[in-house]
């Protein structure tokens, strides 16, 4: 292939029809409280990891909803599993377990189990 010396930008638009919903399906089956989130951001505000890094647990949940597996994978490893987010959530979303299940799903995707 000819090397033109530049690359094309990846489009920023989320093309919902073609994204990968495997993590989402796995989560809906294993942590139903995921559905109750209203994206208020309380979890992000209190998050131990988020206060020192660019980790955003609220946003991660939207990445999961939209099926953005690359973003999910890079985000999910940043959580320290302290559980503070669960304490503040007004909708009882078990964020800590969401992280555990996401990691599980990602492992399964890697080993072609999902």
């Amino acid at each position: 292939m000819t090397d033109f010396g530049f690359t094309i930008n990846k489009p920023r638009v989320i093309d919902y029809d073609n994204t990968d919903k495997r993590v989402l399906k796995y989560l809906l089956a294993h942590e139903p409280s995921f559905n109750s989130c209203i994206f208020c951001g309380s979890c992000t505000a209190t998050c131990s990891a988020g206060n020192f890094t660019d980790f955003n647990i609220r946003k991660l949940k939207i990445f999961i909803r939209r099926g953005l597996t690359e973003e999910i994978a890079s985000e999910a490893e940043k959580c320290m599993l302290c559980g503070k987010c669960f304490l503040v959530c007004p909708r009882g979303v078990n964020n800590r377990n969401i992280i555990l299940k996401v990691r599980e799903a990602l492992t399964k995707i890697e080993s072609h189990e999902l």
Binding site: I14, Y16, N35, F39, I62
Partner: protein, 350 residues
Amino acid sequence: MNKKVVVIGGGITGMEASVQLSALGYSVTILEKESQLGGHLKDWTVLFPNLRKGTEIVSFLEHGLELQEVNVIFNSKINEIKKINKHYEIIVEGRKTLVADAILVATGFDLFDAHRKEEFGYGIYENVITSYDLEKIFAKEGEIRTPSGIKPKRIGFIHCVGSRDEKVNNHYCSNVCCVTGVKQAMELKTLIPDAEIFNFYMDMRMFDTHFEELYLESQKKYGINFIRGRLSEANETIDKRIVIKVEDTLTSRPLKMTVDMMVLLVGMEPSKGTKEIANLLNLKMRESGFLKPEDDHTMSNVSNMPGVFFAGTCSGPMSIKYTFTDARAAVTKINCFLKEYELQNRILVN
């Protein structure tokens, strides 16, 4: 002789107020422009927040009217209203002139005409419908089909169509379309359990008792998805599906999604009848065209014309519950007026 009240409009407000005014001993006439009572209520099969049937409310109101002697004039067109001393003369086309000691304006709302948001494709793409059209589909019962005749697998609801939008000159929020969107999403999901449903919103305004609970239930039990982003434009695919383009504001990225059917949650506008009556009676209107009370806090239902009162959605968007409350509140004010108790100064005039 009993004092006479003429109620203009036979929707929820007009019906409920007439029942109560008649029970208080006034002689009541309803002027209805259509050939039946009930207004928009007839068009909605089940109601939020408890999914009860709309017809139950209609029966409640009709039963009330049966118990009272309320005179109803159907298919009526008002040509002129004259103030003569302390009463009004209402000239109805082809009928005897009516005399009223007090008038209740209950002329209600019109639904926003979705054709005006051309970029949303209503009337252009066949699978773009309104919340009103969806109610008609629900009323038919049987399997849900899109206008193209397929069983929809993915449906998008668009909030705030014709409300909160400078481009159509409606700056206000229509109050009830958020909860209607949630209600209709749940109904659709019940009828098509494997469908994916997305509500595209700017703010979720679940202001009343049980609305927030309904919203939670729609997520928890029905798996309805909520995406914060306002529709910019819609396109049609070759197989007549609809492509929705929004900003997914909570990831700060543009998002596009193809749906089998797109439902526009149309808002309320002051009805044509409201504007006509306001002109005939010189009533004050807000910039939005809804009727304006003498004081927003203390004089709701009281117009700038002595003896003329108004209630219900001719004064702004409201739910059925508040329409009832407002109708009854107006009855109290009319009763005070006819007993010559002055509301502003809180004194009996005679």
